[in-house]
C-alpha cells in the first residue's frame, strides 16, 4: 500500500476506488469521518464533483460519489502517512 502513496506539492496523495455496492451512505461515511478525525493531519477527499473535508460526514455525503468513482485522498501534516493508511484500510474493509 505504501508504494501507492505519492508525494505531491499539496501533501501526500492516495488514489482509492469507491467500489461500494450501494454507494456511500451515512454509515460508511460516518466510519470514514470518524477514522479521519483520529489524525491531526488535514485530510481532503477529492472526486470529480469537488473536494471536501474528510473529517466531516456531512461533507463526505454531500460529495455523493457514485458507486465506482475514483477518489483521491490528500493528507497534509505530521501523521499524514498513517492517516492515509488508516483510511485505505477502512475502504478495503467496506468493500468486502
Amino acid at each position: 500500500m505504501d508504494e501507492a502513496i505519492e508525494q505531491t506539492p499539496r501533501g501526500l496523495a492516495l488514489r482509492v476506488n469507491m467500489g461500494l455496492r450501494n454507494g456511500l451512505h451515512a454509515r460508511p461515511a460516518a466510519r470514514l469521518a470518524r477514522e479521519a478525525q483520529r489524525y491531526a493531519a488535514d485530510i481532503l477527499l477529492i472526486s470529480e464533483s469537488g473536494e471536501v473535508d474528510a473529517k466531516s460526514m456531512l461533507d463526505i455525503l454531500s460529495l455523493a460519489p457514485n458507486m465506482d468513482a475514483e477518489l483521491l485522498l490528500l493528507a497534509k501534516g505530521t501523521d499524514a502517512r498513517e492517516a492515509l493508511q488508516g483510511l485505505a484500510r477502512i475502504f478495503t474493509d467496506m468493500q468486502e
Binding site: A26, R27, A33, R34, L58, A64
Partner: protein, 593 residues
C-alpha cells in the same frame, strides 16, 4: 386559555386527559447580535452543547434493544452529525464573523445544510436533512435551557411534539405518558406502532398543534374520533372522565375475552387476523388473540441501506412463521410505490407513482429481487403455515407468470437440496378495479382472495390519497365500493376459495357489519383493534348482518346507507359504538357526535 378543537389522524385509540408537556423545550429563536468580547463565550457554549448532545446520544445508543437495530443506525448517524466539523465549525465561524449569538449561528448553519441536502437527487441523501434538523433542534434546546436541559424522560402528561425521532422515542419513558400528539407522522410511523403496542392514545398529523398547545395546559385527547380539545371546561372534563372510565372498562373486558373465537350469535364464525408491519410486533401477538396474520407487510426489510439477502429474509420470515404456527401467516410480496419507494423506483421519476410500476408490476420487472423473496418464503414455509399474496395485480398473466416462477424456484431449490415448501397457497390482493372485474377468472387460478380496501377505494373513486381536495370522496359506503365488495366475495365463494378483507376499514364497525353480512371469511386489521373487533362480532348475528347488507346494497344514496347502519348498530351495541374508531366516511360521521 380559550377552548378550541384541533383535528388529527387517530393512530392509537383511547382517551387521555392531562396536561401538555412538550417533548422538546420550546426553542425560542434567539437572534441577537453580540459584541467582540462575547464571541469566545458563545463559541464555548456551542462546543459544550455539541459535547453534551453527543454524550446523551451515546448513552441512548447503548440502550437500543436488538429488535430496534434500525433505530441504532439513525442515532449513530445523528451522533456523527453532532460533532461534524462542517456543522460545528461552520457555526463557530459564523459567530466570529457575523457577531451573532450561538443559537442564531447554529440555525443559519442548519438551514444551509438542510437546503443543500434537500436539493440532492438521491432520495436517501434528501432524507438526511431530517437528521440534521433533529440534531440542530437538540443543540439549540441545550443552548436555550442550559445544562439543566433534560429530555422529557419522566414527564407524565400528554406528550406534544412536532415529530418524534427514534432517538426521542428511545429516551422517553413512554410508560408514564398518557397520550401522544404529533404534528407530523402518520399511521405507520414508528411512534404510531409503538403507541399502539403500549396502548397510549395517539394522534398524528394534528393541524396547528405547535401553535395551539402550550406547556402544562390541560387538554383532552380523543383518540377514537381524532381530535384534541384544548382548554376544556369543567363540563368537558366530567364528560370525558366518564367516557374514559367506560372506555377503559370496555377495553379490559375485550382483552379478557380476546382468546374467545369470533362467533356470531347464530354460530357463524369468522377469523379475525392481524396486519403486521414487522417482526417487532410479535411480542404482543398472543395476548390480542388474533387468528393468524392476514397481511404481513414485507417492505420493512427493504428500507435499509442495502437490499436484504435471501438469508436475512429467511431469518425474518422463519421467525414470524414459526412463532405463530400453526396459525396462518399471509405474506404480501414486496409492494413499494405510492407512499414508500425504493431507490430503483425513485430513479424512474414517475409523475404518478400510485399508478406506476408498483406491487407485482415492479416485482415482475425486477425479477432478481422477487425471486430472492419468493425463495426465502418457500424455505420459511417448511416450519410454518405460510401463504403468499400478490399486491396490485391487474391481469391473469401476472398470476400465471408468478406460478411459473414458483415452479422454477421449486426445481432450483430441490436441485440445491434445500428444504422448502413446494406448494405455498398463492393468493391475490383485490385492490384494482381491473382485478375486481375479472375476479371470477382469477378465483379459478388462485387459492384465496384478500381485498385491500384502502387502495381499492382510491382506485374505484379515482382519487389521489395525498390530495386533500378530493378526500371527501374517500367513501367506503359509496355504492360503487359496496357493490364491488359484494361481487368479489360472491365470485370467490362460487369457486370455493376464501376471501378476507385486510384494509384498516375492517376495524370500522359500520364496514365490519356490512362485510359480515356479505359473508366474508376473515377480516384483518392492526393488532390493537383485534380484541375489540372480536367482541363486536360476538354481538352480531349473521342473519341481521345479511339483512343489513341487502338493504345497503339496494341503496344508491350514501347518506341513507349511513343512517341505516347507524340506527341498526346503535340498537345492537348501544354505548359501545362510541368505543370503536370510525374511519368510515370519517368526515360526515364525525358530526354525528
Amino acid at each position: 386559555m380559550a377552548r378550541a378543537v384541533l383535528f388529527g389522524t387517530p393512530v392509537s385509540p383511547g382517551i387521555a386527559i392531562g396536561r401538555a408537556c412538550l417533548a422538546h423545550a420550546s426553542v425560542q429563536d434567539e437572534e441577537r447580535y453580540i459584541s467582540e468580547e462575547e464571541v469566545a463565550g458563545e463559541q464555548d457554549a456551542l462546543r459544550a452543547a455539541a459535547e453534551h448532545v453527543c454524550t446523551v446520544l451515546a448513552t441512548t445508543l447503548e440502550n437500543v434493544p436488538d429488535d430496534l437495530a434500525e433505530y441504532g443506525d439513525v442515532i449513530a448517524a445523528q451522533m456523527e452529525i453532532a460533532r461534524d466539523p462542517k456543522l460545528i465549525k461552520g457555526a463557530l465561524a459564523r459567530i466570529a464573523h457575523k457577531h451573532i449569538c450561538a443559537a442564531w449561528a447554529l440555525k443559519l448553519t442548519v438551514d444551509e445544510l438542510c437546503a443543500l441536502f434537500r436539493d440532492m437527487e438521491e432520495p436517501y441523501l434528501r432524507d438526511r436533512a431530517q437528521d440534521i434538523r433533529a440534531v440542530g433542534l437538540r443543540l439549540r434546546e441545550y443552548l436555550c435551557v442550559g445544562p439543566e436541559y433534560k429530555n422529557a424522560a419522566d414527564k407524565n402528561g400528554v406528550l406534544v411534539a412536532e415529530d418524534l425521532s427514534p432517538a426521542d422515542v428511545m429516551e422517553l419513558n413512554l410508560n408514564h405518558v398518557q397520550g401522544i400528539l404529533t404534528a407530523e407522522g402518520g399511521p405507520t410511523s414508528h411512534t404510531a406502532i409503538l403507541s399502539r403496542g403500549l396502548r397510549i392514545p395517539c394522534l398524528s398529523d394534528v393541524t396547528g398543534l405547535m401553535a395551539g398547545a402550550h406547556e402544562n395546559e390541560p387538554l383532552i385527547v380523543d383518540g377514537l374520533n381524532g381530535y384534541v380539545l384544548l382548554g376544556p371546561n369543567e363540563e368537558d372534563m366530567a364528560r370525558y372522565s366518564a367516557q374514559r372510565r367506560e372506555y377503559n372498562h370496555w377495553e379490559s373486558v375485550t382483552r379478557k375475552t380476546a382468546q374467545w373465537p369470533a362467533e356470531m350469535c347464530d354460530g357463524v364464525r369468522v377469523l379475525v387476523q392481524a396486519n403486521l408491519e414487522s417482526a417487532v410486533e410479535l411480542s404482543s401477538f398472543t395476548e390480542n388473540g388474533a387468528d393468524g396474520v392476514g397481511l404481513y407487510r414485507t417492505e420493512f426489510a427493504y428500507f435499509k441501506k442495502r437490499l436484504p439477502r435471501e438469508e436475512d429474509l429467511l431469518a425474518e420470515y422463519h421467525t414470524v412463521a414459526q412463532t405463530l404456527a400453526p396459525r396462518p401467516v399471509i405474506f404480501r410480496t414486496l409492494d413499494v410505490g405510492a407512499d414508500k419507494m425504493l431507490r430503483a423506483q425513485a430513479a424512474l421519476n414517475e409523475p404518478n407513482p400510485a399508478l406506476g410500476l408498483r406491487g407485482i408490476r415492479f416485482c415482475l420487472r425486477h425479477q432478481g429481487m422477487f425471486r430472492t423473496q419468493l425463495r426465502a418464503l418457500m424455505r420459511a414455509g417448511v416450519n410454518g403455515n405460510v401463504s403468499v399474496m400478490l399486491p396490485m395485480l391487474t391481469n391473469l398473466q401476472e398470476l400465471r407468470q408468478t406460478r411459473r416462477i414458483l415452479l422454477e424456484l421449486h426445481q432450483e431449490l430441490a436441485a440445491q437440496n434445500l428444504p422448502h415448501a413446494a406448494h405455498l397457497p398463492l393468493g391475490v390482493m383485490i385492490e384494482t378495479p381491473a382485478a375486481a372485474l375479472i375476479c371470477d377468472a382469477l378465483a379459478r387460478e388462485c387459492d384465496f382472495f384478500s381485498i385491500g380496501t384502502n387502495d381499492l377505494v382510491h382506485y374505484l373513486m379515482a382519487i389521489d390519497r395525498n390530495n386533500r381536495h378530493v378526500a371527501y370522496l374517500n367513501e367506503p359506503l359509496h355504492p360503487a365500493v359496496v357493490r364491488t365488495l359484494k361481487h368479489v366475495i360472491d365470485a370467490a365463494h362460487q369457486e370455493g376459495i376464501s376471501v378476507s378483507v385486510c384494509g384498516e376499514l375492517a376495524s370500522d364497525p359500520f364496514v365490519l357489519a356490512l362485510l359480515l353480512g356479505m359473508g366474508v371469511d376473515a377480516v384483518s386489521a392492526s393488532l390493537r383493534f383485534v380484541p375489540g373487533m372480536k367482541h363486536l362480532i360476538r354481538q352480531f348475528s349473521s342473519r341481521e348482518c345479511m339483512e343489513l347488507a341487502d338493504r345497503v346494497l339496494l341503496n344508491t344514496d350514501v347518506n341513507a346507507s349511513k343512517r341505516l347502519l347507524r340506527e341498526k348498530l346503535h340498537q345492537l351495541l348501544g354505548r359501545e359504538l362510541a368505543f370503536h374508531t370510525v374511519n368510515c366516511g370519517s368526515h360526515p360521521l364525525r358530526d354525528a357526535q
